[in-house]
Structures are given as structure tokens and as C-alpha cells.
């Protein structure tokens, strides 16, 4: 068992752009930071067999996600000289054009922030037990598949 309770990364519904802006503003007091890197995942209106994706409905194996995310967090902090890292992933319905993933890394110099941000995004997509159900304009759906490189 982890010795401390893992941070919750999930929020209900889309990530609000105002929340992202507020998160950036909250770092103005941390003056040792010289670089922020931000990844925002936005729901895309793919057209599949003539049907357009209007939203993605996310579900997760929450307890396993939080444990896994805690392990990823510890590995990333061991690998990169980061000041901080914040991760927020949507659950429930997120419409096309809305944000469903917000990864935010900060460090003294840019390389650590940029590289760790990319690595965390890739690991989230490959390792966290989260599923996206793509909802089409005719109310049918299919389970989303991630492209894992």
C-alpha cells in the first residue's frame, strides 16, 4: 500500500479553460520556476462510417488509476528535475471541442518540463485504466481505441 493517499486526478465533465488559466496563475509565487509545459487533450469530432463523434463518455477503474498515477508520478519526479506536476482527467461526458486531459509540468529550465510532460501524456494513454466511449450524432457509440506508439 502507498504510504500516502494518492492525489485524485479525476474531474466530472470537461476541464474548464478558466481552471487551466487559474492553475497557471497559482504558480506566480513559485519564482524558482523558469518553464511550464502544458498538454491539453481535446475531444475531436472524428467521422467514422459517416457518423460524427459528438462526445466522449469516460469511465475509469478509479482506484487502480490513482495507484498507477502515483507510481508514474514518483518515477517522473525521480527522472526529471521538476518543481511540480499537475494532472486532471475528465470522467463522464465531454463534448467535441472540450478539454478532457490537462497535464501541467514545471521546472527551472525548459527541457525537463517539456520532456516530462510528453512522457506523462504517453504513459497516461498507455497505462491508466480509462475508457472512452465515442458517442455519435445518431446516439450510437463505439469504444475508442488509443494509438500507442
Amino acid at each position: 500500500m502507498p504510504d500516502k493517499k494518492p492525489k485524485d486526478i479525476f474531474i466530472e465533465g470537461p476541464v474548464n479553460p478558466q481552471f487551466i488559466s487559474d492553475s497557471i496563475a497559482q504558480h506566480s509565487t513559485k519564482t524558482s520556476i523558469g518553464a511550464h509545459s502544458i498538454f491539453l487533450g481535446q475531444v475531436r469530432n472524428d467521422v467514422i462510417n459517416g457518423n460524427e463523434v459528438t462526445a466522449i463518455d469516460y469511465t475509469a477503474y478509479r482506484e487502480m488509476c490513482l495507484e498507477k498515477m502515483q507510481a508514474i508520478r514518483e518515477e517522473i519526479f525521480a527522472k526529471y528535475p521538476l518543481t511540480c506536476m499537475h494532472i486532471h482527467h475528465s470522467l463522464g461526458k465531454v463534448k467535441a471541442g472540450e478539454i478532457s486531459l490537462f497535464v501541467f509540468t514545471s521546472s527551472a529550465h525548459r527541457k525537463a518540463a517539456i520532456d516530462s510532460c510528453e512522457e506523462v501524456v504517453e504513459r497516461i494513454k498507455a497505462e491508466l485504466p480509462v475508457w472512452g466511449k465515442e458517442i455519435f450524432d445518431d446516439s450510437s457509440y463505439q469504444w475508442k481505441k488509443n494509438n500507442i506508439n
Partner: protein
């Protein structure tokens, strides 16, 4: 003994339940076989098995109150 089964994504659709209990299931292979017999579409579906939140790649003996999760390919982000 009783184990809890959690299902997600396409697997939850196929078994038409997101959680249920099973009694006297010795190991993960037996559990998979039982469900695949009952829900043949599972045989054509890719999924991983996690026992108590850890993905297992081999047959694992189950204990009372084990939590077995059936995880189709992840698609977060």
C-alpha cells in the same frame, strides 16, 4: 469463498454488468473460462485481467474477497 468481479468498457457491455460476485472460483483461468462460456463474445475480445489492481499475465489463485477486474484496451486522454 467469494470474489468480486469488475468489468469496464466493451467487456461490461458484453456481460451486461459492471460488477458482480462469483463464488468458489479457484483461479483467474477458471474465472475467464466460466465467463467466456456464458458470454461467447468475450472470446473475441481483447482484455487484460487485474487481481487487486495489479495486472496479471499468468493464471493466479484467487482468495476470498479478491477483486478481479477485466480490462479492455485503455483509451483515456
Amino acid at each position: 469463498m467469494k470474489v468480486s468481479v469488475l468489468t469496464f468498457g466493451e467487456v461490461a457491455d458484453i456481460v451486461n454488468a459492471s460488477s458482480f460476485d462469483l463464488k468458489d472460483v479457484e483461479d483467474t483461468d477458471t474465472l475467464k473460462q466460466l465467463l467466456e462460456d456464458k458470454f461467447p463474445r468475450l472470446k473475441e475480445t481483447r482484455y487484460a485481467v487485474a487481481v487487486d489492481k495489479k495486472i496479471v499475465n499468468q493464471n493466479v489463485t484467487l482468495e476470498d474477497a479478491s477483486i478481479v477486474a477485466l480490462l479492455p484496451p485503455f483509451s483515456g486522454g
